[in-house]
Structures are given as structure tokens and as C-alpha cells.
């Protein structure tokens, strides 16, 4: 008990010391330029909060459960979730806001499932995934603006274009080892954003593109209320399609080869697998999913700008994949709800929301380094499933 108090006290002191300059002083604008205001009570608050937090955490033993549900239970959970998602707009509590938020969550679920093919299956750390999302969004916006093509024609085009980008960007860099690949993909993500920002004549620069046409269904246009529900079903369909694609690919030779590549590239080469081709195909498949999600995003918002495609987005998507437990489709849904859905509730606390988001990210990693759900199911069996 005494040791607990002591450790809590130390943590509190460390926090107070760390926060001293930034919490204790506030930079303020004054007539003569910058000025400083003192606020010692913020430091005291940090001391108190961290000490109490540490004291509670020390006492709290988080259970180290492995969520290793048998195969058929996971399957049922998946079906149950799908059913719930399909019926969501009809449920009594589901107002326009709820459906709208669920749409947002589903975009991230779809992006997560797409990125999971790259990171979870093929083991390629991609920190620039948002680039393909942006390519999808801008290509729909531009196709619609210049060629007046409908959403349903642009959608596959955007997917293909994003995949093409994946191939072109991936080709020179996929020889690189893990962490280098991460940093180069991050660089690519930033480069695409810079181009969007600076190629004013095409992309509208920082002002972005607005007036992007809303989707129709066989020529039927929707009232704003009905459109929310329509869009929800569109993204649900798209997300489920990506899910199905990922699940099927995993059971095919290419999926197994991706996983093998993640496990040991040298062994793969000795078995006659061409790593470059495999990496490229994973990269392009993931990019295609992001492109599809991007063009949906564009049509939903009606307005896009480089603001929506910052590195933070890539980080959030990657966090969803890793927190979910790489390779687990349901884990990704869970993580997306946790990281995107919950913060949406707290929109009013805009600033604190991102702060809490970061803290949650760190805490979950500390608690479960391999993700929330991390059991792997074999893609093929000789004997019966247990």
C-alpha cells in the first residue's frame, strides 16, 4: 500500500514537473506582442489527476483474457453483426444522427478491412494509405465535374485508378525492408497531399472541390432524409463486399502466399514465390478498397479538400487495424467503433477528443500489444474444425 502511494506520488510529481512550462504558463496575445499568464492550478490539477490515475491503475489488474472464441461462435457473431448493421436504420433509436455516424464508422471499417490486406495479411507497413483514399475521392469528384459521369460508373473507375496508383507507387519501393517501407509510404501520402494542395487549377488547392453530385439510384434522387439511409446502405454494401473479398482471398493461394511473405520472405523466395509481384498485388488490392471508400466519401460529403487526407487519417486507419488485432475482421469493426464511433459522440469536446483518442491508442497497445482480437484461423484444414 505504501509502495503504491509512493509510486503514485512519484508519478504525480513527474507529471507536475513535465507540465510545468506548458501548463503553468499560458501564452497570450497582448498589445505589445506575446505575453504570459500564470496558471499554477493547472499544474496542481495535473499532479492530482496523474497521482490518482496511477494509484487506481496500480490497484487495477486488467484481465489478460484471450478472446479465443471457437470458429462457429465467431461466425455467428459476424452474422449477428451484419444483421444488426442491416437493420440499424429501422431500429427505433436510430435517428438521422445515429445513421450518419454509423455511415462514418462503416467508411473506416471498410478502410480498415482494405488496409488489413496490406498490413495484416502481407505484413507491409503502409503509413500512406490515405493517399489512395484521396485518389478515390478526387477522381470521383473530377470525373463527375468534367465528364458528368454518374457515381455508379465512377465508383469502379476510382477503384481501378487507386489500384493503378498503388502499382505505380509500389513498384519502386516494395523492395525496401519494413520500416523503410513505412516511411516511404508516409512520404508518398504527404506528396499526394502536397500535390492536391498546390495543383490549384485541377484540385482547387486548399479550398477543395465542392458541389460534388450526390448519388442516385437508377435515376431516382433522394430527399436529404432518405439519402442518409440510402448512403448508409451503399457503404454497408461496399464494406461487406470488401470483407467478402478479403475473406475469400485469404483462402486462395495468393492469400496464403501473402501470409507466408509476412512470415518469412526468404523462405518464400526459396519456394519460387515472386515477392515483388505478391507485394504489388497486395498493395494494389488494398489501394483499390481505399479508392472505393474514397469515392463514397466524396459523394457523401459533397465537398472534399486536402484537409480530409492528412497523415492523421492514415494513422487512424492503421490504428484500427492494429488495435483490432491484425487479421481479425470483427476486431477491426470493434476498433473502428471504439476509435471513430465513440469520439463522434464527444464532438462538442473537439480538442479533448483527440487528446483522449491518443491516450486510448497508447493504453490499448500497452494492455494488448497484439490487438483486441488476435487469434488466427487456418485458411485450410486437413481434419475437421475443432
Amino acid at each position: 500500500m505504501l509502495a503504491r502511494l509512493k509510486s503514485a506520488l512519484l508519478a504525480g510529481l513527474a507529471a507536475a514537473l513535465l507540465g510545468l512550462p506548458l501548463l503553468g504558463f499560458r501564452l497570450t496575445d497582448s498589445a505589445t506582442g506575446l505575453s504570459l499568464a500564470l496558471r499554477p492550478w493547472w499544474v496542481a490539477a495535473a499532479f492530482g489527476v496523474v497521482m490518482a490515475g496511477r494509484f487506481v491503475m496500480d490497484g487495477l489488474r486488467l484481465p489478460d483474457i484471450q478472446f479465443q472464441a471457437p470458429h462457429d461462435i465467431r461466425r455467428q457473431a459476424g452474422l449477428g453483426l451484419t444483421l444488426f448493421a442491416a437493420l440499424l436504420p429501422l431500429l427505433p433509436f436510430a435517428g438521422r444522427n445515429v445513421v450518419d455516424m454509423a455511415t462514418m464508422v462503416l467508411i473506416y471499417v471498410m478502410l480498415g478491412w482494405g488496409l488489413n490486406i496490406v498490413v495484416g495479411l502481407a505484413g507491409l507497413l503502409d503509413l500512406g494509405f490515405v493517399a489512395f483514399y484521396a485518389v478515390g475521392a478526387y477522381s470521383y469528384a473530377l470525373f463527375a465535374q468534367y465528364f458528368h459521369l454518374s457515381f455508379w460508373i465512377c465508383l469502379p473507375l476510382a477503384g481501378m485508378l487507386a489500384a493503378l496508383f498503388g502499382l505505380v507507387l509500389g513498384f519502386p519501393v516494395l523492395r525496401l525492408r519494413g520500416d523503410y517501407l513505412a516511411i516511404v509510404t508516409l512520404g508518398f501520402g504527404e506528396m499526394i497531399r502536397q500535390v492536391l494542395l498546390n495543383w490549384q487549377s485541377l484540385t482547387g488547392g486548399p479550398r477543395g472541390l465542392s458541389g460534388i453530385p450526390r448519388p442516385t439510384l437508377f435515376g431516382v434522387t433522394f430527399t436529404p432524409e432518405a439519402r442518409v439511409i440510402f448512403l448508409y446502405y451503399v457503404i454497408l454494401g461496399l464494406a461487406l463486399m470488401v470483407n467478402l473479398l478479403a475473406l475469400r482471398l485469404r483462402r486462395l493461394p495468393i492469400g496464403r502466399a501473402w501470409e507466408a511473405l509476412r512470415e518469412d520472405e526468404i523462405a518464400c523466395r526459396s519456394l519460387g514465390l515472386n515477392p515483388t509481384l505478391l507485394k504489388l498485388s497486395a498493395f494494389a488490392t488494398g489501394a483499390m478498397c481505399a479508392g472505393l471508400a474514397g469515392s463514397f466519401f466524396a459523394t457523401r460529403q459533397g465537398f472534399i479538400s486536402p484537409e480530409s487526407f492528412t497523415f492523421m487519417e492514415s494513422a487512424v486507419i492503421l490504428a484500427i487495424v492494429v488495435l483490432g488485432g491484425m487479421g481479425s475482421q470483427i476486431g477491426i469493426v470493434l476498433a473502428a467503433v471504439l476509435l471513430v464511433g465513440l469520439p463522434e459522440w464527444f464532438r462538442e469536446f473537439q480538442q479533448y477528443r483527440m487528446l483522449a483518442f491518443g491516450i486510448v491508442m497508447v493504453l490499448i497497445m500497452l494492455w494488448r500489444p497484439s490487438g483486441l482480437l488476435s487469434a488466427r484461423a487456418p485458411s485450410i484444414r486437413l481434419g475437421p474444425a475443432p
Binding site: F25, I183, G187, L355, V362
Partner: protein, 304 residues
């Protein structure tokens, strides 16, 4: 020619700042093989701490500018060092044996936390600081165009050189440096030989963070405006510098920083200022393609 020289001077100054940040990346990567994503934010914290410390000393404490700068330097190094220590202790230490991606995600989370911590405590608006160090001298004059070398640039370069020299001495000559290099090569063996690996890693973070803090101070003085978002771009550029020079190599980090600074200055001087960030990344990609081990890094032979 004069214009070129001016760009080189600006580039070298900028390069020194990148180099100081890059050291933190290269050392941490060398020793635990992770990209310390939050390092750019430590630099940003350094910039804010420097600004606050300087204002506190001059406005509240009544010190003159020179004393104020000295106080700001010491305070910045101290506080960022503490932050570096705390970040490692809280977010990375427990994940050292975890799957490869876990510390990276934790680091990204930490980076989000720090950015928003500063935004919440100091607001999102940019913070302007009027020039503190004035003057300089003119090296050359051609018509109306003058090649200036300001005292501030000289100061930045000298301080960078001094820190580099001191740091190189620590790494090559002291027992601490020896322990650090040993841990970098084989942490398990070093631990068996009685080196306190945890402490070595902590020290690495502390030193890297203190140097990034100094870079933050320099940027505050050099550009005169900072906001909570400056850590991100500077962070990736500094990492680019570390990779360019050869990750794990200290002279490499310096050289890489210098090159990135030069490329950026020359590119914005001659081509377009909008695409200067793209120039830096293109260089990174080219280097990785043709010389993946960086300019001064050791090529790693694939062990089969």
C-alpha cells in the same frame, strides 16, 4: 552566384536544425530498432518551452535578451530531456518485446497526445515572437542583392557544431558511449555483460530529446512563429535526413540533415516554394532505391 550563396547559407542553417532532430531518430532506431514517431513532437515541445522560458525570464524575471536566451536554452534542454525520458518510460518500455507494430502504434498515439496536449494548453493559433537576435554582416554585394549572414545563423551553426562535437565525444570516448554502442550492436549480450540496458535506452531518449529541444529553440528564434503542428513535418524531414545519412550513423544524421536543408533551400530558391516538401521526399525515395543503407550507413548483407 550571390543568390546561390545566400540559399546555401539558409540551407546549412536549416540543415543544422534538421540534423539535431535526426540524431534522436537515428540513435533510437539504432538501439531499439523503432521509429520514435513522437520525436517530432518533442521538438515541438522544445519550441514551446523555449518560447515560454524566454518570455518568463525576460517579461517576468526582468532578464535581458542574452540572459533570457541562456535560460531558455537550459530550460528547454532540461524539460525536453525529461519528456524524452517520460515518453520512453510510459509508452515504449513495456512494449519492447511486443509484436513489431505495437510500439509504432503506441508512438503514433503518443504523438497525437502531445500535439493535442499543446493545442489544449496553449491554443491552436500560431505564436509569433518578434526577432530577438538582430543584425549580422554582409558577405557580398552584387547590385542590390546582398548576401547576408546573420548573427542568429552564426549562433545556430556554432551551437550545432558544439553540440555535435560534444555528443560525438560522449559516444566515442566515455563509458556511457561504449555501453550505448554495445547495446546497439547486441542488446542481449550487453545485458549479459552487466550493462543496464534499460538505463542506456533511457539515456538515449534523454539525449535525443534534449538535442531536439535545442532544435526547437533555434526554430523559434529563426522563424519567429510556431504552432502545435510544426512537429509533424519537421519530424518526417528529420527522419528522412536520418535515413539519407544511413540510419544508426551519427555523422550520417548530420550529413543527412545538412543535405535535406540544402535541398529544401535550393529547391525553394530556384524552383517552387510550394513543392519544397516534395523535393525532400523524392530525394529520400531515390536514396532508398539506389543506396538503401544511406550515404554513411553500413550495407546490410542479407543473411540466409
Amino acid at each position: 552566384m550571390e543568390y546561390f550563396l545566400q540559399q546555401v547559407i539558409n540551407g546549412v542553417t536549416l540543415g543544422g536544425i534538421y540534423g539535431l532532430i535526426a540524431i534522436g531518430y537515428t540513435m533510437v532506431y539504432g538501439i531499439i530498432g523503432m521509429i520514435n514517431f513522437a520525436h517530432g513532437e518533442v521538438y515541438m515541445l522544445g519550441a514551446f518551452t523555449a518560447l515560454i522560458a524566454f518570455l518568463a525570464a525576460t517579461l517576468l524575471g526582468g532578464a535581458d535578451s542574452a540572459l533570457g536566451l541562456a535560460i531558455a536554452l537550459v530550460a528547454t534542454m532540461g524539460f525536453t530531456a525529461l519528456w524524452g525520458w517520460a515518453i520512453e518510460r510510459v509508452a515504449y518500455r513495456r512494449l519492447r518485446k511486443a509484436p513489431r507494430l505495437a510500439p509504432l502504434i503506441s508512438a503514433i498515439g503518443m504523438s497525437v497526445v502531445l500535439q493535442n496536449f499543446v493545442q489544449v494548453t496553449q491554443g491552436a493559433r500560431v505564436k509569433p515572437l518578434p526577432p530577438v537576435v538582430h543584425g549580422g554582416f554582409t558577405l557580398m554585394q552584387a547590385g542590390t542583392f546582398k548576401v547576408d549572414l546573420s548573427w542568429l545563423q552564426i549562433g545556430i551553426l556554432l551551437l550545432t557544431l558544439a553540440l555535435m562535437a560534444g555528443f560525438t565525444w560522449v559516444i566515442t570516448k566515455t563509458p556511457l558511449g561504449r555501453a550505448q554502442r554495445a547495446t546497439q550492436q547486441d542488446a542481449k549480450m550487453a545485458a549479459l555483460l552487466g550493462i543496464d540496458v534499460d538505463r542506456v535506452i533511457s539515456t538515449t531518449f534523454v539525449i535525443g530529446a534534449a538535442l531536439a529541444g535545442v532544435a526547437g529553440l533555434m526554430v523559434t528564434l529563426y522563424y519567429g512563429v510556431i504552432d502545435f503542428y510544426i512537429g509533424f513535418l519537421a519530424g518526417i524531414k528529420a527522419f528522412t535526413a536520418a535515413v539519407l545519412g544511413g540510419i544508426g550513423s551519427l555523422p550520417g544524421a548530420m550529413l543527412g540533415g545538412l543535405l535535406i536543408g540544402l535541398i529544401e533551400a535550393l529547391w525553394s530558391g530556384y524552383f517552387s516554394i510550394e513543392y519544397k516538401d516534395i523535393a525532400a521526399f523524392s530525394v529520400l525515395i531515390l536514396v532508398l532505391l539506389f543506396r538503401p543503407s544511406g550515404l554513411l550507413g553500413r550495407p546490410d548483407v542479407e543473411k540466409v
